[in-house]
Every structure is written in structure tokens, then in C-alpha cells.
């Protein structure tokens, strides 16, 4: 079976790859492009550890065939910091200790970025609903929610 040729923009770089039709976008990101920040948790769209932003929409990379990404613009966790300067969300996650084992963290950061890109002043309820598709078994969520709210407040000021 011939491979599928896919052209994308990932974290502002033009990226072309060849993939098998069965491969998910997450498979290609992690195994072929070596962008291993996005994690595979459940592989069924329940946990959000593989969250990426595709054409401005938050999606699960495990629920997309890589071939579907043709022509799309993708943001992953690897593009979030500017060199060694952390994104404000990353810094607030550190300051709040909003992570323990860290497996869910890239997904939470990308999901939170997608929220603040759309809504710079979310309520706590809005943050909790927006992040309902990201599971964390360590923190109990409170620290994550506070980190997102404080980032929003900091960015607005």
C-alpha cells in the first residue's frame, strides 16, 4: 500500500511527511516527527493527553488520521515556549505546582492556551467545563484551574 503524502504547518514550520493510512496524527507526531510532548493516554478521546490545536480548534491527536491533517496548521506543546522563555501558562503551572507526574500536563497546557486564545477572561466555571476533556489523576484539578485563572489575570494586566 502506497503511503499518503501530507503537507502541514506545525509550530510555524512547514512540515511534510509520508504516513500509512492507519496512522493517527499522534502516531506521526510522536514516532515519526519525534514531537513526543503530546502523550497517548487512553487512545479513545477521553483523557486529552494528546491535545493539539488544529486550524484554531482544540482536538485529540489520537482521534485523527494523520492523512486528515493535509493542509492544516497545527500547534503542539513543543511550540508553546519561546526558546527558553516559558509561556505564561507554563510558568503559572510551575508556580502553582499544578502538576505532579506530568503526563497530562502538555495536554492541559495546550487546552488552556486554546481557551485563553478565545476567551482571555474566563470564569472558573468556564475553565472547568473547557478542561473537562483533560484528565489528571494527581492534582485534583484545583491547582490547574487556579494556574489558568491567574495566567488570564496576569495576561490581561
Amino acid at each position: 500500500m502506497s503511503k499518503v503524502h501530507v503537507s502541514t504547518i506545525i509550530n510555524d514550520d512547514t512540515v511534510e511527511f509520508l504516513c500509512e493510512s492507519e496512522q493517527t496524527l499522534l502516531d506521526v507526531l510522536r514516532d515519526d516527527l519525534r514531537l513526543t510532548g503530546s502523550k497517548e493516554g487512553c487512545a479513545s478521546g477521553d483523557c486529552g493527553a494528546c491535545s493539539v490545536i488544529m486550524d484554531g480548534r482544540l482536538v485529540c491527536a489520537c482521534l485523527l488520521l494523520a492523512a486528515e491533517a493535509e493542509g492544516s496548521t497545527i500547534e503542539t506543546i513543543e511550540g508553546m515556549a519561546n526558546g527558553s522563555d516559558l509561556h505564561p501558562l507554563q510558568q503559572q503551572f510551575l508556580d502553582h505546582a499544578a502538576l505532579q507526574c506530568g503526563v497530562c500536563t502538555p495536554g492541559f497546557l495546550i487546552a488552556a492556551k486554546a481557551l485563553l486564545d478565545r476567551n482571555p477572561d474566563p470564569t472558573e466555571t468556564e475553565v472547568r467545563y473547557w478542561l473537562a476533556g483533560n484528565l489528571c489523576r494527581c492534582t485534583g484539578y484545583d491547582k490547574i484551574v487556579r494556574a489558568v485563572l491567574d495566567t488570564a489575570a496576569e495576561t490581561r494586566n
Binding site: 500500500m1 493510512s21 482544540l58 482536538v59 485529540c60 482521534l63 485523527l64 487546552a111 473537562a132 476533556g133
Partner: protein, 287 residues
């Protein structure tokens, strides 16, 4: 497995026709990818219909909304005019999954996955939405309620797929609503879902009603007896109670981890009452 992303309806139909039963239509993929990866399905061909403009747009034709089959929940929620016309349909679609799922999941996929608990389907049935279907023998229209024939089963013939949904023009004094019950607030599958659409005349008498219930039978039920209990009344408490009783009579649910037969039947009635009162309130939303 081969992946194809045709850019016209005719190309998609040709691909599906030539592959017979060995192909699957890919919309948002939030159900299909899970089935693929668990080995539940092993298609030889995936036909991704998202590159077809007609399948991804929301248009207004002679005052009627035509919504492409792969328009996502997030896009429906952001469409102010559609939300104003059919709030129940949009709120049902927006209940499906998380933010991530909302970015992909579609009305067409939710319908054709044919889960008895699909959130969008009772609202679509209540709204009286019509499916435009394309296939090897041309196009045909079917009411949404005629698509699912059982869990995971549809009445679509090989080579056919749903292109779009056509909604009637909402009458001036009409309103629709959808509620589902789940044991948590997000990210779960409906124990019961109820969609209701009602229309009143100038004297506040109900002239039309459609009551659709999900997750209480192998397919979504359109409960005629519930509609009959409302039509000709002022949708007062006594009529709503009769409508609720008819909903409970129609329920034929399964016992499973989400709810027993008794529980689902009870909850279906409670939800129907609440949904009816929201729909009633919305009949006045343009005044």
C-alpha cells in the same frame, strides 16, 4: 486500508459504490477512530467527506437552514442564527463530549454511528429535520428518524451517505429544547435524552408537538401519544402530566450499568416534563 478524501459528492459516491461494504465514511472520526483502533471494524477504504464544501457548510435556502453533515458541534454553537432558530438542536450537539470532541464531532456522524443514546438525534427528530442522502442512484430525502434501524445499524444502502440536514422554517410561536441525564456534568453517555418541539397559535393553544426520547429503546422514539396529549391544550400542568405518562409508556430500555429499566423509565418522564417547559418558554423568545 486506503484513505481517500474526495472533494465532490459524486466522487465520494463513486468511491463508496466501488468498494461495497468494505468502506467506511469518515466524518469527525470521534467514534470511527475508536472503532478502528480497537479492531471493531477493519475497512479496506476510508472515505473522508470533510473536503467536500457542501458537506461542511451551513446555508440558508428560502429561509430554511441546511446544515452539512460534518459541521462540528463547536461550529453549530458559534452560529448565532442557527442557535436562535433551533436552540434545542444546537444545545444537544454541544453536549457531545469534551471541548476536544466538539472540535470534530458532527451531526452526521452522531446520527450514522447509530447509538441509541446519541445526544443530537432526539433533538433532530423533534425538530423534524430531513436528511439529504447521496448514493449510486442519485439523491433522496429521508426524515432523521428513518435513518437508524437498531444499535449500530442504519437504513442507508451501500454507497449512500448523509450529505446534509434540512430544517423547516421555525413557526413564529414555536420552540425546541433538549436535555439528557448523566450521573456527572460532562463527558458521559446519556442515560436518557429527551427532545421536544412545540408550536402554539395566537391563543396559546398547542397546534403541533413532537416528543422524541433517546436511550430508552434500540432507536430514538417519536412518541405520538405524547404529542397528542399536548396538541389542543394550553400546555398546562395536567396536559404535561399526560404527555409524561405517555413517554413512560413508550419506554422499552435495557438494564445496564448506567441505569435500570425502572430508573430509565422514571427519569425519561422527569426529563420530558422539564424539556417541555423549556420549549414552552422558548415559544415566546421572539416576542
Amino acid at each position: 486500508m486506503q484513505y481517500e478524501a474526495p472533494t465532490t459528492v459524486d466522487q465520494a459516491v463513486a468511491l463508496l459504490k466501488n468498494s461495497g461494504n468494505a468502506s467506511k465514511v469518515l466524518a469527525g472520526g470521534t467514534d470511527l477512530l475508536v472503532q478502528l483502533r480497537s479492531g471493531m471494524i477493519e475497512p479496506e477504504l476510508i472515505v473522508d467527506i470533510k473536503k467536500i464544501p457542501e458537506v461542511r457548510s451551513i446555508l440558508k435556502e428560502d429561509g430554511k437552514f441546511r446544515v452539512g453533515a460534518v459541521v462540528t458541534g463547536a461550529e453549530l454553537g458559534e452560529h448565532g442564527d442557527l442557535k436562535a432558530a433551533w436552540p434545542g438542536v444546537v444545545e444537544a450537539a454541544e453536549l457531545i463530549g469534551s471541548t476536544q470532541i466538539q472540535g470534530r464531532a458532527s451531526l452526521g456522524g452522531n446520527l450514522c454511528n447509530a447509538s441509541p443514546a446519541a445526544d443530537a438525534v432526539p433533538a433532530l427528530v423533534a425538530a423534524g429535520a430531513i436528511c439529504m442522502i447521496a448514493g449510486p442512484n442519485g439523491r433522496r430525502e429521508l426524515p432523521v428518524g428513518a435513518i437508524c434501524t437498531g444499535p449500530g445499524q442504519t437504513s442507508l444502502s451501500p454507497g449512500e451517505f448523509v450529505v446534509s440536514f434540512l430544517f423547516p422554517i421555525p413557526k413564529p410561536r414555536s420552540g425546541d429544547a433538549y436535555l439528557r441525564f448523566i450521573p456527572r456534568t460532562e463527558m458521559d453517555i446519556a442515560v436518557v435524552g429527551v427532545g421536544i418541539h412545540i408550536t402554539l397559535d395566537a391563543e396559546n393553544v398547542c397546534v403541533d408537538a413532537r416528543v422524541a426520547v433517546g436511550a430508552v429503546a434500540p432507536t430514538v422514539l417519536l412518541v405520538e401519544e405524547s404529542a397528542a396529549a399536548l396538541v389542543g391544550t394550553m400546555v398546562d400542568d395536567a396536559s404535561i402530566d399526560k404527555m409524561i405518562a405517555a413517554v413512560r409508556d413508550s419506554c422499552d430500555p435495557i438494564d445496564d450499568k448506567r441505569g435500570t429499566v425502572v430508573y430509565r423509565t422514571q427519569v425519561a418522564g422527569v426529563l420530558a416534563g422539564r424539556v417541555c417547559r423549556i420549549a414552552l418558554q422558548r415559544t415566546r423568545r421572539h416576542e
